[in-house]
C-alpha cells in the first residue's frame, strides 16, 4: 500500500484516546487490561456479525468443499516500504487459500505481542488489517492476543488461519500438472524481499522499491471463472522465491521444468539492488505474486486475461513443463547457457564483493 493510501486509512480510523501508550504484560492476562485493549477499538475496527458475538469461537455456516490454511508472520521491520505486518498477515492467508482455488471467507487472527509495543503501532497494524480484509472480502471471525516479556519476541508476531469454499470450477492440484503446461508468473519478482532488505539495519539503501504485498483472490477467482480446469496448478512463491517453489514441484511431482531467464519479469531497481547485494532474485521472497501451470492451448489466452488485471500487468510465460530431466529445473541463461536451479541450503546472505 502506498504512503498516501496508508495516511488515508489512518485518517479514516483515528486512534481513540486511551489511558495507556504501550502494551504491557497485563494486556495479555485475560483480565481487565485485556478487555480494555480489545474494547479500545479492536472489536469496532474489525466488527462483523460473527466476531461481534464475542464467543469462545466462531460458528460458521459452510457447505461443500472447503480449503483451510494457516500462516505465521514475523517480519522485521514490522513497517516496511509498501506495507506492514498486518496487511501481510491478511494477504498471506488469503493468497494461500486462493492458490487452492478457494474463495477466502473467514479468518482467525492471533497476536503475540512483545511488551513495550507502542499502542499507536498496534493501532496502525489493526487499521491495515481492517482495510486488507475489506479489500479481500474476508471477515476476521475469531482471534487471540498474548503478550510476552520484553526480549522474548520481536515487537509483534501474527498468525492468521483462514477458510474458504472452493470455486465450483476449480480443479487445482499439483497432480494435474502435465508435460507441455506453460508456466506463467503473474508479475515482477523479488520486490517484497528487496523492499524489506532496503530497510534492514546495516544494509539500508535508498530506493523506491516497495513490497508487492496484495490479495490475489479476486484475480485468481476471475481466471478460474473464465478458464476453469485449464488452470492446472497455482502456487505463490513467497519464502524461497520463484526458484524454490518450482524446484519443490519438480521434485515432488517428478516433473522436468524449463525456464528462460530472459522472460522472467523483474523491476529494474529490484534487479540492480540484487546485483549490488549479490543476491539471486529467483530466491528472493514475493508476497503478491503467483505461478500458474496452465494448459498449453489456453496459456496465451490466460496470459492476456491476466495482463488486463491490475495484479498481472507484468505477467509473462517464463517456462514450461517438459518430459526430459524429471525432477530438475533447468534455466536457459540470458546468454543461452544452461544452469540447474536447486534449493538453497539456507537463507540467502549478501555477498562480500
Amino acid at each position: 500500500m502506498s504512503e498516501e493510501g496508508k495516511l488515508r486509512m489512518q485518517l479514516q480510523c483515528p486512534m481513540p484516546k486511551l489511558d495507556f501508550e504501550v502494551i504491557t504484560l497485563g494486556h495479555g492476562s485475560g483480565g481487565v487490561l485485556t478487555n480494555k485493549l480489545l474494547d479500545s477499538g479492536v472489536f469496532d475496527l474489525l466488527s462483523n456479525d460473527i466476531l461481534d458475538e464475542r464467543h469462545d469461537g466462531a460458528t460458521l455456516d459452510v457447505k461443500g468443499k472447503m480449503a483451510f490454511s494457516t500462516d505465521s508472520f514475523l517480519v522485521s521491520p514490522i513497517f516496511f516500504p509498501g506495507g506492514d505486518i498486518g496487511e501481510l498477515a491478511v494477504n498471506g492467508t488469503v493468497n494461500d487459500l486462493a492458490m487452492c482455488g478457494a474463495i477466502p471467507q473467514h479468518l482467525s487472527l492471533s497476536f503475540i505481542i512483545e511488551e513495550g509495543l507502542p499502542m499507536k503501532d498496534f493501532w496502525e497494524i489493526l487499521v491495515s488489517i481492517k482495510f486488507a480484509c475489506e479489500k479481500a472480502g474476508v471477515k476476521v471471525v475469531t482471534g487471540d492476543t498474548k503478550v510476552v516479556e520484553k526480549g522474548k519476541g520481536d515487537k509483534i508476531f501474527i498468525n492468521t488461519s483462514g477458510i474458504g469454499e472452493l470455486h465450483p470450477k476449480a480443479t487445482i492440484s499439483a497432480k494435474r500438472i502435465q508435460n507441455g503446461d506453460q508456466i506463467i508468473l503473474s508479475g515482477n519478482m523479488a520486490s517484497h524481499g528487496m523492499a524489506i532488505m532496503s530497510v534492514r539495519e546495516g544494509l539500508e539503501f535508498d530506493s523506491e522499491i516497495e513490497s508487492d504485498t496484495t490479495n490475489l483472490n479476486h484475480t485468481i477467482n476471475g481466471l478460474i471463472d473464465e478458464f476453469g480446469d485449464a488452470i492446472h496448478c497455482l502456487t505463490d512463491p513467497t519464502r524461497g522465491g520463484v526458484a524454490t517453489v518450482l524446484k519443490e514441484i519438480a521434485q515432488t511431482e517428478n516433473l522436468g521444468i524449463e525456464l528462460s531467464q530472459a522472460k522472467i519479469p523483474i523491476d529494474n531497481q529490484v534487479a540492480s539492488a540484487c546485483e549490488l547485494l549479490g543476491l539471486d532474485p529467483l530466491y528472493v521472497a514475493n508476497e503478491g505474486l503467483f505461478v500458474a501451470f496452465v494448459d498449453e492451448d489456453k496459456a496465451e489466452a490466460v496470459l492476456s486475461a491476466l495482463r488486463g488485471d491490475q495484479n498481472g500487468t507484468n505477467a509473462a510465460i517464463i517456462g514450461s513443463v517438459v518430459e526430459d530431466h524429471s525432477k530438475q529445473v533447468i534455466m536457459e541463461s540470458a546468454i543461452g547457457g544452461k544452469r540447474v536451479i536447486s534449493m538453497l541450503p539456507g537463507e540467502q546472505l549478501p555477498r562480500i564483493c
Binding site: 539495519e201 546495516g202 544494509l203 539503501f205 530472459a262 529494474n268 534487479a271 540492480s272 546485483e275 547485494l277 549479490g278 525432477k327 530438475q328 533447468i330 536457459e332 541463461s333 540470458a334 546468454i335 543461452g336 547457457g337 544452461k338 544452469r339 540447474v340 536447486s342 534449493m343 541450503p345 539456507g346 546472505l349 549478501p350 555477498r351 562480500i352 564483493c353
Partner: protein
C-alpha cells in the same frame, strides 16, 4: 538494467563463442582467479558452451573460502566469549569454524550483525559506547580500501571501541603460488577485474613475463568472461604472453591511487595463511603498528589453537586447479553446502559450491 544488460546480450555472446571456436586449435587450460568469475561461468552455463579444447580451472579467488579456519574460530570466540558486537559481510556467517559458524553463534545469542559497509560498523561502535565492536575484515584487495577507511574514520573520530579482525588476501602472490606448484598446468589466467580496479595492472606484468603466461584482466558479466577467454586464447595460439585489459571500462592501468593510499596507510604486507592452500609469502595484509589499537587480534589477545582441516577434503588441489570438484569422492555426498568439509564448498562463489548449485552434477535430495 543499464550498463549491465548490455553485457548479457545473447547475440554478442554467440559471436564470441563462434570466435572462440575458430581461434582454438589445441587444448588449453585457463584459470579464472576470482570466485565472482567462477560464479558467472557456472551461473550462465558458459562452461558447457565452450569448445572441448578449452578447460576452465577455478582458482583460489573466493576470499570467504580461503579465510583460515583459525580466524573464524577467533571471530566466533570474540562474539560468544568476549561479548563483542561482531559485524561481518553476509557470506562469512555460514562458514563453519572448527566448532561452529558465526550463524550458529548468533543463534546461541551472540550479537552478530550483517553489514554491507565497514563504515556502518564504526557507526554502531559510536552508538554503543559501552560495547566493543569488531568488524571481520576479510576480502581481496577489493574490500581492503573500505576496511582501511573504517580504521582511519574510527581513528579521526576517536572511536576507541572499534577494531577489525583482518584477513586480507592478495591476488598476485596467489597466481605465482599456483604457477609454481609442480602439479598445476595452467596456460593462461583471467585476472580479477575488481581487484585491478583498486590495484591497477602493474603487478601482473612481471608475472606474465617471468612465467610466460597470458594474463587478461577480466570483468564478471557473461560477455566480459567470454571476451576475456577469447583474449587469452588468441595470445596462446599466437604464442604471446602479455597482460591485457578486457575490463577497460572500469580498470585503469594505475588502478585507484587514492584507494591504494589508504590501504598502505593502514595495512602492511605480510605472509598469509590461505585455507586449503597453506601459507603464501607476502600474500596478505596486517594492520600496521600505528593502528594497533584498532587491530582486534592484538586488542583481545585471542589465542586459539590451529584446528586441522578435514582429512578427506582436497580443497588445495581444487583451488590450484589440479582436480575438478566432481573428481572428489566426497563431493555432493558427505560434502554439501549444508555440511561443507572444506573451503570451496562454503561460499556460493567457491568452486565446489558453484558446481553443486548450478551444474546439476549431483541429484539433490
Amino acid at each position: 538494467m543499464k550498463y549491465m544488460s548490455e553485457y548479457r546480450d545473447p547475440v554478442l555472446a554467440k559471436q564470441f563463442l563462434e570466435e572462440i571456436k575458430t581461434t582454438v586449435t589445441q587444448p588449453w587450460s585457463i584459470m579464472e582467479v576470482c570466485g565472482g568469475q567462477t560464479h558467472s561461468l557456472v551461473k550462465n552455463g558458459i562452461i558447457e558452451m565452450l569448445p572441448d579444447e578449452v578447460t576452465m580451472i577455478h582458482g583460489p579467488g573466493c576470499p570467504v573460502c580461503v579465510t583460515p579456519l583459525n580466524l573464524i574460530d577467533k571471530a566466533v570466540y570474540l562474539a560468544t566469549e568476549k561479548g563483542v558486537i561482531l559485524c561481518s559481510f553476509g557470506d562469512m556467517l555460514r562458514v563453519p569454524g572448527s566448532q561452529k559458524s558465526l550463524l550458529e553463534a548468533k543463534a546461541e545469542g551472540a550479537d552478530v550483525r550483517v553489514l554491507y559497509s565497514p563504515l556502518e560498523a564504526v557507526k554502531i561502535a559510536e552508538d554503543n559506547p559501552d560495547k566493543e565492536v569488531v568488524f571481520f575484515a576479510v576480502g581481496f584487495e577489493t574490500t581492503a580500501p573500505a576496511n582501511a577507511l573504517s580504521v582511519v574514520h574510527a581513528h579521526i573520530r576517536g572511536v576507541k571501541n572499534y577494531s577489525i579482525l583482518a584477513s586480507h588476501v592478495l591476488v598476485p602472490p596467489a597466481i605465482k603460488a599456483v604457477i609454481d606448484d609442480e602439479e598445476s598446468k595452467i596456460d593462461g589466467f583471467l585476472a580479477a577485474g575488481h581487484v585491478c580496479t583498486i590495484m591497477g595492472n602493474a603487478e601482473y606484468h612481471p608475472i606474465s613475463e617471468k612465467f610466460e603466461v597470458p594474463i587478461v584482466v577480466t570483468g564478471f558479466e557473461p560477455l566480459d568472461v567470454l571476451q576475456g577467454i577469447l583474449m587469452v586464447l588468441r595470445q596462446l595460439e599466437q604464442k604471446k604472453a602479455e597482460v591485457e585489459n578486457q575490463y577497460a571500462r572500469i580498470v585503469r592501468e594505475e588502478g585507484n591511487p587514492d584507494a591504494q593510499k589508504v590501504i598502505h596507510e593502514v595495512f602492511e604486507v605480510k605472509n598469509q595463511m590461505w585455507r586449503g592452500i597453506g601459507e603464501i609469502p607476502e600474500s596478505g595484509y596486517a594492520v600496521r603498528e600505528e593502528f594497533a589499537a584498532f587491530d582486534a587480534a592484538k586488542k583481545f589477545s585471542v589465542n586459539i589453537a590451529e584446528a586441522p582441516e578435514h582429512p578427506d577434503c582436497i580443497s588445495g588441489q581444487i583451488m590450484k586447479g589440479i582436480k575438478k570438484p566432481f573428481e572428489c569422492a566426497q563431493f555432493g555426498k558427505t560434502c554439501k553446502p549444508t555440511n561443507p568439509l572444506g573451503a570451496p564448498m562454503v561460499s556460493s562463489e567457491g568452486a565446489c559450491a558453484a558446481y553443486y548449485h548450478f551444474s546439476g552434477m549431483v541429484e539433490q535430495a
